[in-house]
């Protein structure tokens, strides 16, 4: 029963969006479509209005560092047919630009703000203050894979010495207070 | 001149007694609440430690001259009412400004504090304190009605408007006013719940909601003065109730026993109730307490 349903969806989508290549090799109720970024808004609208995929369950951004691309994935779910559709699109990594879609689903507004802050994806027409979660953030978009957090942490914050050679923190604190380590804790310290 | 000096010394002595007893009662209150909540609770002298710590705070901030008025007015209220209410009958060690201590004058002095505190809190500019003040004053209007009904009933029944007069009536007739005019006593006790602003009526200093209401900007020495005046004022209210309804006390032990018994009413009631909103508390005060007050007046007029 699931197979005919998937065939039917693919046929309907292919009829309207010819260059959408589908990926149907999932046994469970999932179907993927990969399209170019200009087509995404119209495809989302089509799926939502005609095909009954009322619910946008998630949107995420994947950083394909090696291929130099960012991928936006929108997961839609149709309560009537009980089937999930993944709409994927690829953006160029150096200058990722996508048009704003928060009029289709309002919650996309929050997702887009997060993508803009964390991945640096620019959404044309998104009116929202730049600062979203991170306050006074000067660094590069932190969720990109080429952003080395450890190095950044190293640069901006101090580290308490002795973490690398696992020197027992409890010792340093205890010495500071001039009292010996209680015996129950001795077996843990080196 | 000697009599004035004697009076001043007596006043200071009464103040110290009131301070100590008030603080211990506060500590006992916290102990009892803890015990009810199945935990050990702080020592009974915890309040003393808290006040000492507050007094020993090194730095303090204020938002203007008026902020000093707040705690000062509160102190004036508690000390003035302490001077008015006869603490121990026919005992020259605790004399006071007891010139036929008129009840209506006492009512107005007891209202003097909250209004002064409101001035101080207003100056701080903190919205929480302003909200606390509106709640405090509105609730005060609420509990004043049954309180005045009870007092007027007493005044009418015994044809005197002074505390000393009422105590004389009780001494002479032998029965406590608690029993000879029960409705007035019930109304007055219900009003007392409002005065202490413990649990059902503590919307004024709701710590989580409006950051301890009027006192939100007062720390260190200001809070010290407010806590001590609060405890003295609690003691004064209790002695007033004892004088009015339980025939006063001629030695300190009887005074402590009676006041503690009375003090248990608001404390235990506060353990079992949840906080009222302001208009709910006002409506509550104008409900049953006022009904009993009217009954008291009816009784005073008819019998």
């Amino acid at each position: 029963m699931m197979k005919e349903l998937k065939e039917h969806i693919i046929r309907r989508v292919k009829a309207n969006f010819t260059e959408a290549e589908e990926n149907n090799d999932f046994t469970y109720d999932r179907l993927d479509f990969t399209v170019k970024k200009e087509v995404v808004p119209s495809l989302l609208l089509f799926l939502k209005e005609e095909m009954g995929f009322k619910h946008l369950s998630h949107a995420s951004c994947v950083d394909w560092l090696e291929e130099g691309e960012l991928e936006l994935v929108f997961i839609l779910w149709s309560p009537k047919d009980k089937i999930k559709v993944f709409v994927r699109t690829r953006l160029d990594r150096d200058n990722p630009v996508m048009d704003n879609m928060d009029n289709i689903w309002p919650q996309l507004h929050t997702y887009e703000r997060e993508f803009r802050e964390m991945f640096g994806v620019q959404f044309t027409g998104l009116e929202a203050p730049d600062e979203f979660i991170l306050e006074d953030w000067q660094g590069p978009p932190p969720f990109r894979r080429d952003f080395d957090t450890a190095a950044y942490a190293e640069k901006t914050f101090w580290h308490r010495p002795g973490r690398e050679d696992a020197q027992d923190v409890r010792e340093t604190i205890a010495n500071r207070d001039g009292e010996d380590i209680p015996d129950f804790a001795k077996k843990y310290s080196r | 001149m000697e009599e004035v000096l004697y009076n001043v010394l007596g006043a200071i002595a009464t103040f110290l007694v009131a301070f100590v007893v008030g603080m211990t009662y506060g500590g006992l209150n916290r102990k009892i609440t803890a015990r009810v909540q199945n935990r050990k609770g702080p020592p009974f002298y915890q309040n003393f430690i808290d006040t000492l710590k507050l007094a020993s705070k090194k730095s303090a901030i204020h938002h203007g001259v008026m902020q000093h008025f707040g705690p000062a007015f509160l102190m004036v209220t508690s000390v003035m009412s302490l001077l008015i209410v006869p603490v121990l009958t026919h005992n020259q060690w605790f004399p006071n400004l007891n010139f036929h201590g008129d009840l209506i004058f006492l009512l107005y002095i007891m209202v003097f504090g909250p209004l002064g505190m409101a001035l101080g809190a207003g100056q701080t500019g903190n919205p929480n304190s302003a909200i606390g003040i509106t709640r405090g004053l509105s609730q005060m209007v609420g509990y004043e009605i049954p309180w005045v009904l009870a007092l007027v009933a007493l005044m009418i029944q015994y044809h005197t408007t002074s505390i000393v007069g009422l105590m004389a009536v009780q001494a002479q007739s032998g029965t406590w006013l608690m029993f000879s005019s029960p409705f007035a006593f019930i109304a007055a006790v219900m009003a007392m719940l409002g005065m202490f602003s413990y649990s059902p009526f503590d919307v004024v200093i709701a710590p989580a909601e409006i950051a301890s209401g009027p006192a939100s900007e007062n720390g260190g020495k200001y809070l010290f003065t407010m806590m001590s005046s609060g405890s003295v004022f609690a003691f004064v209210k209790l002695t007033l109730y004892v004088d009015l309804f339980m025939g006063g006390a001629d030695n300190i032990v009887i005074l402590l026993v009676k006041t503690f018994a009375l003090y248990m009413i608001p404390v235990l009631y506060s353990l079992t109730t949840v906080r009222y909103r302001t208009e709910q508390s006002i409506r509550w005060f104008w409900g049953w307490p006022s009904f009993f007050g009217l009954l008291a007046i009816l009784q005073a007029v008819i019998f």
């Binding site: - | 008129d102 500019g125 919205p127 509106t134 900007e217 003065t225 006002i282």
Partner: protein
């Protein structure tokens, strides 16, 4: 040329010259204005003796002017407050337009009030009463065209009252044959019962309107709050006292002598109580200071009416003392609002905040006035309130004492709202430029505030003339057994000694203030009201966290059901009904000749038909 004539001449001459002096020079106008108020006031107190009367006949009616102890007390309020308000008005009116118009009517109303107190016969009483009404009306509509309906509402109410009084005067004239008040009082017990009932009612209607008693108080909030503040302190402070003066005269001298008098006084006492409660409940809810003070003065007048209506000696002392105190603190409060309005241009609580550091003297006088209004011990208000309660209790008005006490406790709410609204809360950048009000405005306020403080400890200063006044009206001398210079007693022998109270309050207060400021003085630092502990957030510069909109909301939510029905609605419905009937009557004049001719014929036919019945 008796001094009374000189006083009236100076008033009239001063008024006319001040009106025209505006064209010549502004400062000259101010001087003339002050002269034409202060000189008669001085003359009045200097050499108008009690009992030295002046008789004259005008238009065939014999008028007699003179003063007795009772009216001397009220002239204290009128001329005292009048001259202080005049000094204040000079400051308030600097740079306003239409000053001549304002000064002319100001002087006329002061003259009219003095005239009322001086007049010993009903016609001059009525003449000055009417002049007082229309001169105060002209000032009420001073603020331009949006205030017209309020002004006309005020004038209509006062006119109804005044014409009721005119009817009473003329009926008295018909019975006694003369207009003198003395004759009326002597003839009153012998009158027919219906007359004995109707004449006081009609007099009380007139005085009730002016004293803003319950059913007739509808005009007061609008008129008090829309008149210019310089005049409102006199309007609500002294002018309403004329209603009280008349009411006392009627109640004490006439109504007390007839058996039904008890009902009059009971009804009036309860009306006073209800006015107090209504005034207070409505005052709490206002966002505009002027409206708040207007409703609050209606409430305070309710107390005074109750005090006078009770009728026992202590109650009369209380009522009249409260009348004097009301003139003082209401005068000061309206001057405070006037000063703030002059400096900031608005008198709305939600717009003005944090003026305490910019207008300290105004704040001080407002604080003292508020403490007096609330009736808190060190100041005079307490003495009046205490005597009122004692008199209510000792004269067995049990439920009334609860009503009055509820009104006065609820008064604390709007007292605090007034102080908090203007002076406290966070400073606003918009009002950073505000400076203290000019000295000429602050001086009267401080004088009155000081006087209230003195009255708080030595009420004898005012109780003495009140006592003389009551003796003039026929009360026994209550000096030793009801009050001494600084001790007040009630008829059950309970007393409050005011001097030690003040000294102990002041002593304790100063001790703790010293303790708080001295202790850790070095480490106590002053921080601005912007720097508050609001959960770690740093308040931005333009953000103002003062809580001023819907300030007493919790209390209002508790009493809201009681305030749904409003007497204004009934008056408006009545007025619309009248307007509709007038419209119907107007349609009789159809405008074409034929109908008029038919009317003539119908008239003749009707006459002929009923001729034997008519002639």
């Amino acid at each position: 040329m008796n001094t009374i004539y000189i006083i009236f001449l100076i008033f009239l001459g001063g008024a006319v010259f001040t009106y025209f002096a505006g064209k010549i020079h502004k400062v000259l106008q101010d001087i003339l204005f002050l002269v034409s108020i202060l000189v008669p006031a001085y003359l009045f107190f200097a050499n108008v003796e009690i009992g030295q009367n002046v008789n004259l006949t005008l238009g065939g009616i014999s008028l007699s002017w003179g003063i007795n102890y009772f009216s001397w007390l009220f002239s204290l309020i009128v001329l005292g407050l009048g001259s202080l308000a005049a000094i204040y008005a000079v400051g308030f009116m600097k740079g306003e337009k239409r000053r001549g118009y304002f000064y002319f009517n100001f002087i006329l109303s002061i003259m009219a009030m003095t005239g009322i107190l001086l007049s010993r016969d009903l016609v001059s009483f009525f003449v000055f009463w009417e002049i007082m009404t229309w001169s105060s009306y002209l000032i009420t509509i001073y603020n331009g065209n949006k205030v017209q309906s309020i002004g006309i509402k005020y004038f209509v109410f006062s006119a109804i009252g005044a014409y009721a009084m005119l009817m009473a005067i003329v009926m008295v004239h018909h019975i006694t044959g003369s207009f003198l008040i003395g004759d009326m009082i002597h003839a009153y017990p012998a009158m027919a019962l219906s007359m004995q009932i109707w004449i006081p009612i009609m007099f009380l209607m007139a005085f009730g309107v002016k004293a803003a008693m319950m059913p007739l108080h509808v005009w007061a909030p609008g008129a008090y709050s829309n008149a210019p503040m310089a005049y409102t302190s006199v309007f609500s402070g002294a002018l309403s006292k004329m209603g009280i003066y008349g009411m006392t005269l009627v109640l004490v001298t006439m109504v007390n002598h007839i058996p039904q008098g008890v009902w009059f006084r009971e009804v009036l006492a309860w009306l006073g109580g209800i006015t107090a409660v209504i005034g207070t409940l409505w005052a709490i809810q206002q966002d505009d200071a002027k409206k708040l003070l207007a409703y609050s003065s209606v409430a305070q007048l309710g107390y005074i009416i109750t005090g006078i209506a009770i009728g026992t000696e202590l109650a009369m002392l209380a009522g009249l003392f409260l009348a004097v105190m009301h003139a003082l603190f209401k005068g000061t409060l309206f001057m405070v609002v006037g000063a703030i309005e002059k400096q900031t241009g608005t008198s709305n609580f939600t717009e003005v905040t944090g003026l305490i550091r910019k207008m300290p003297w105004t704040f001080l006088s407002a604080l003292l006035a508020i403490i007096a209004l609330a009736g808190i011990p060190p100041l005079g208000g307490f003495v009046g309130k205490w005597m009122l309660y004692e008199s209510l209790i000792t004269s067995n008005h049990y439920l009334l004492v609860i009503v009055i006490f509820f009104a006065s406790t609820a008064a604390f709410l709007y007292c605090y709202k007034f102080l908090f609204g203007f002076f406290m809360g966070q400073e606003e950048k918009e009002w950073a430029h505000v400076k203290e009000a000019p000295a000429v405005m602050v001086l009267p306020m401080l004088i009155m505030a000081l006087f209230m403080l003195v009255l708080g400890t030595f009420p004898g200063i005012i109780l003495n003339p009140i006592n003389h006044g009551l003796q003039a009206l026929g009360y026994a001398d209550s000096y030793k057994h009801l009050w001494d210079t600084s001790i007040i007693l009630n008829s059950w022998g309970n007393k409050v000694v005011l001097q030690p109270i003040l000294y102990s309050i002041a002593g304790i207060f100063l001790f703790f203030i010293a303790f708080l400021t001295w202790k850790g003085y070095k480490n106590t630092r002053f921080i601005s009201t912007k720097d508050i502990s609001s959960s770690g957030e740093v308040p931005k510069e333009d953000e103002n966290l003062t809580f001023s909109v819907g300030f007493m909301q919790p209390f209002y939510r508790a009493v809201e059901p009681a305030m749904r029905r409003q007497i204004d609605k009934y008056y408006n419905a009545f007025a619309d009904g009248l307007e509709a009937t007038f419209e119907f009557l107007r349609r009789i004049y159809t405008g074409n000749g034929q109908t008029y001719a038919i009317y003539v014929i119908v008239f003749v036919v009707v006459m002929l038909l009923f001729k034997d019945f008519l002639f």
